[in-house]
Amino acid sequence: MCDSCGCGLPGETVTFRKHGEEHQHHGAGATHTHADGTTHTHTHDHDHNHGHDRTLAIEQDILGENSLLAQRNRGYFEAKNVFTINLVSSPGSGKTTLLEKTLTDINDIACAVIEGDQQTMNDADRVAATGVPVLQINTGNGCHLDAEMIHTAYTELKLKNDSLLFIENVGNLVCPALFDLGENKRVVVISVTEGDDKPIKYPSMFDTADICVINKIDLLPYVQFDVAKCKEYALQVNHHLEFFELSATTGEGLEAWYSWLHASIKK
């Protein structure tokens, strides 16, 4: 269940675990292991008698359609030399603030932004104030953006050649990990007001990211956040991760981030 996005279906999957206890107690679930060692879970049987059952082998990736659409997006971006960044984080880590600052400071590259939130135009309004074209996607109850939404959004935005496209995903460290949007780089933002163990609490997001931005470093003197430890955890999950430590409000550390953006678009 997505505990970070608060999309709240009933808590069927609660696991209760005491301090120091190794194994877990599941609140629900028909998970069991058979004598041959296979483990599976199933919904309950409905016992209707069917005489003519036949089984069709499908062998199809369930997210295959999203992956195909993402590849189509990727092809489009490549043809136009649009470098696309998918920004993911918990709510409040500073994605929009980093975007506002970046868009204000980078004047020599055309930029565009796709904003994802469950509700409101607030982030799009903040970005629009910088003068950059922006499109807001409201996902309603949806906890992530998908490749099709991105396709619709960039068609609407009319991207320029040789430009940067920033996608701010829905604030949620769980679900967006599964959905390829066709981006060039996935950037996970974590702020120092969150726990330095976030990378191991939400490993799949850090596993699928290319870049990790550690934001709000201006607040380091006031919080218990061990940057070295956070990086160490993140690297345990994904040894390819590259880091930027910065403050989107004071501007500290932004030069390296800007250099990286410039280098990316030239290729």
């Binding site: 483990t39 919904t43 409905h46 069917h50 089984t55 069709l56 799949s204 596993d207 690297l235």
Partner: protein, 114 residues
């Protein structure tokens, strides 16, 4: 809720395949779900039942085979079972481990009837 959109994709794919086969209804949908796929099986099951309503898969059973995680150490090439992304090589203690199996999210088979 991504388990909801995943459940919708599953039922969608299964119904299309059943239709192609000329079947009227679906009794079982079988999946392979890796331990590192990022999907909560309990939550998927919950969504599944509601998504099936009003489709040929109504009242069908969802069977989920768990696929264990396998990693390969990039330092010493040892292969071992893993159950998280923070896999530590038991042989040389490196964290540089490539995930070889466990991210599967696959619709394996659909059982249909006339």
């Amino acid at each position: 809720m991504h388990e909801m959109s995943i459940a919708m994709s599953i039922v969608d794919i299964a119904c299309k395949e059943a239709q192609k086969d000329g079947a009227k209804s679906i009794s079982v949908i079988e999946l392979d779900v890796g331990k590192l796929a990022g999907v909560m099986v309990d939550s998927l099951m919950f969504c599944y039942e509601s998504v099936c309503k009003g489709t040929p898969a109504e009242n069908s059973k969802l069977l989920v085979n768990e696929v264990t995680g396998m990693g390969e150490c990039l330092k010493c090439h040892f292969e071992f079972e893993i159950d998280s992304f923070m896999a530590l090589c038991p042989q040389c203690e490196s964290y540089e481990v490539k995930i070889k199996q466990g991210r599967e999210l696959k619709l394996k088979a659909v059982t249909v009837n006339e």
